[in-house]
Symmetry: C2
Subunit: 165 residues, 2 copies
Amino acid sequence: MTQLYLIRHGIAAERGEYTNDAERPLIEKGREKTTKVAQRLKEMGIQFEIILTSPLVRAYQTAEILQKVGLTEKVERFNPLSPDGDLLDWVKWWSNSGYNKENSCLALVGHQPDLGNWAEMLLWGRSEEKLIVKKAGIIGLSLPQQETPVGNSELFLLSSPKWLS
Amino acid sequence: MTQLYLIRHGIAAERGEYTNDAERPLIEKGREKTTKVAQRLKEMGIQFEIILTSPLVRAYQTAEILQKVGLTEKVERFNPLSPDGDLLDWVKWWSNSGYNKENSCLALVGHQPDLGNWAEMLLWGRSEEKLIVKKAGIIGLSLPQQETPVGNSELFLLSSPKWLS
């Protein structure tokens, strides 16, 4: 099994304050809540071999906070984590990545509704937007190594920041 | 929306130590972990209007711990929460109960794989045993009032006790 954590970016500046949506940064409250979640993950002994993140500023800044707290040494931008990205691009990446080993632990930082949709696809092979994922919220999935993870993964965690503080 | 928490009983005496499986009680470690989860729920400000529990000893004792911590004033045994019970019996009970109001908060204490199956039925209308629910673990669902909850509910929490301690 590979443990895959899907982490939604923290609270960002309002839409409209920036002409380019991709440039909206985290606001202070978003940094604080994200830091608390990151610290909780660290206390739980979690270490990510790599964090892939949406290239959008609010997501990349979220990944940087996770890195700063010591959860990973490696953060990389991954375009399919942008809004409306395709899970299958990630599955292809993962299959060829060397991170699909027994006991691998990885994280993806991105957006809603995409992260919830990706999780539902991994669990049931289809998505119906039934997972509530708050900003800086987390989904934890166990992925099999020997078969496609789509429709064959299991859910062990879904939480908003308030339960993790 | 009604908030419905599904809570699995804590760690119980091993199978085989009791000729009647229904009589297996919680062991000390099970009481401790369940108490920590109950205290966390209390800290989060949660109050259940009623806890329905499987009549099996390990489940009823779990519900008693939740009550003792102050999470509810009302615990009732509910036979469909026994192993292999039918979710639709609970749906029928709920529809006629007066607890299907806006902002109702209820809990069910029971067994695996039934609780996970019930949750999947509420979310997607079918169950594939993709939810990992540890002993004293919790599932949190939002149920609609105006339509059947089967296939129309949302998931806001799934956690093992270690994340809640």
